[in-house]
Amino acid sequence: MSKRSLPFSLLTLFTSPERAVSIQGDLTEEAQTRGRFWFWSQVLRTTGALCWKGFPRNPFMVAGLTVLGVAAWLLIGVVLVNRIDWAEAMLEARGISIAIRAAPVMLFGGFVAGILMVRIAPVRGIYACVSAVAAMIPFVTLVAIINARPPDSVADFVTQTLIGLTLGLLLLGGSLAMRRGPAKANRA
């Protein structure tokens, strides 16, 4: 039995490994008549449903963790490249050098922030990662709208792409931290 499959990894973000195995088994069984597309769409929909329904009733802890995670992400940026004007780098992207200097920091910061959130609060941390991504999506959209005109430079394109990737890395960091232990703390 391949417990390390992608569907299993996704489901265990929001439910116990024992439940994830039986859910994946149910979907596998039905997929024999419904096909692979149905299987993957239901894996994603079920993961979303488990995330939404399992969201902690008291959101303050999650909100606090979200703020902490985003703050950690920005702090890493300030410490590592303290001369970068973040607002300018994200909204204007005036020079390729800024984008290139900011790139590894933004990506690394997102990844570390995800790990940090799950390490601080094993079960709620992954919800904080999802919240952080949800909170940052309007910001990313705003940046995309501001830069909707034809790109002035490669830096515009690079910066926008990096901001999007950062959100992915935030979730990836949290997911990896979950797989290394805290997933076991989920409801049995």
Binding site: M1, S2, T15, E18, R19, V21, S22, I23, Q24, G25, D26, L27, T28, E29, E30, Q32, Q42, R45, T46, T47, G48, A49, L50, K53, G54, R187
Partner: protein, 112 residues
Amino acid sequence: MTRTHSLGEFEQIALLSILRLSDTAYGVSIRAEIADHTERNVAPGALYTTLGRLEDKGFVTSRLGDPTPERGGRAKRYYQVSKSGLKAVKRAQNAYQNLLTGLELLQGASNV
């Protein structure tokens, strides 16, 4: 004070389906039972979250079956309605019946 949990409509449907299926109630069979009797195509995610909630409330219990090849060697999780679940579904159905008594809503329903 004892805390009593109320049942939502879909929770009642899930509980009644598990009762009908007896010992063979697991994710796939419960969805099929619901589809057969209510003509509702329930998303797997909605069913699993409902079953989890019912388990949290103590209305259902679950156990793992044996792994089967058509499921990629993964075990089925069988569900059973607990005594408190049975009481809750009876209470909810009685409430519906009491509310319907005296109304003419269902008269001639079989002709529709």
